[in-house]
Symmetry: C2
């Protein structure tokens, strides 16, 4: 009787440990994306990941023809963020998501500037030697934005290598990722497990 | 024998359900801030909360004298976010954190614009009828930025009512919060549990 009780307890303890926090299970097997054929399934839970920063290159600062006229809210999956903090490199299996938000109003009670407008698209990049062995750094880039309609696409096809990877290879600071524009990533590169800087001198 | 086995299973199922996700436990008791005396203890885990947006009112768009010259990365505690999605109002106990990031470079390979520089400060606002019964809407505002040194302050004293609440009362759309500048909050106000818009027409 007691034996079965303790077997049940042990089994449930395993369930508790294995069901609560994937970041405690190690880095190797935690996957935050799905590839179907050669398409990436649109991530839907990225708002619970780690936000790393928002670059902005609006049309009115680029002669009305900005290559990226939106706010780009960038998120990384939490396990790859933990790996980055520990190792300062990107693990095989990293995914970053870029949520595109239009420029809304340019004036508010707080002053002149740029304020977020509407949600207008979604993009992602993944590093996967399994799925993209021939891409530089094993990175591939995807868009789920649908120029012909309001609904986001449920899957995205990888852009051709020269459409994204060329710029990333030439100018991104850390293995095809523009960490120079993301203080959250710069300050945590290989420094351990802390989440936020304790002081304003942190880089 | 079987009875004890199932009692153990039931007990452990309860443990699993209650230990994994605080957002499923109800709203009332989840607290994400600590008040010591009349000071707010600096939050340290906000990067695991929900990011809602980044307004920017840089100095060079405000005659060199912007009231808020930094990027403001705003986070909300996850339980208050769930409450907002369900009810469209702010629960007693809400906390929003504002991470201040300087304007860094204004040009990159992606174009001219504004890119995040360095981490330069931290602010927060809380809604608490228990601690601030006499403040408008029970909201109080705090800064942990230390103008005299690099280290953030570990606690913050509430600003006087007319320093923050006047503007928030006059111009913020939803109970002293400027939801009009945060599409994450606008799109989710009282609409249920979904985390992201499925289409680009969502507000």
């Amino acid at each position: 009787m007691k034996q079965n009780f303790f077997i049940a307890l042990a089994f449930c303890s395993f369930l508790i440990l294995s069901s609560c926090n994937t970041t405690d299970k190690g880095y190797g097997n935690a996957t935050y994306f799905t590839i179907n054929g050669d398409e990436l399934v649109r991530p839907v839970d990225y708002r619970s990941w780690v936000y790393v920063g928002t670059p902005l290159t609006p049309n009115d600062m680029n002669n009305g023809k900005a290559a990226f006229p939106e706010f780009h809210n960038v998120y990384i999956d939490p396990v790859s963020y933990d790996y980055w903090k520990e190792h300062g490199t990107w693990r095989d299996g990293t995914i970053l998501v870029k949520e595109l938000i239009s420029v809304g109003t340019k004036a508010a009670v707080s002053g002149n500037g740029y304020f977020m407008g509407e949600f207008i698209g979604l993009e992602a990049t993944i590093k996967s030697s399994e799925h993209f062995p021939d891409e530089p750094g094993n990175w591939a880039y995807f868009s789920f934005t649908n120029p012909e309609g309001e609904n986001l696409k449920n899957t995205g096809t990888a852009f051709k290598t020269n459409q994204c990877n060329a710029c990333h290879a030439a100018s991104a600071k850390d293995d095809f990722v523009f960490t120079q524009h993301y203080p959250v990533l710069r300050s945590s590169k290989g420094v351990g497990k802390e989440v936020i800087p304790e002081n304003t001198a942190s880089r």
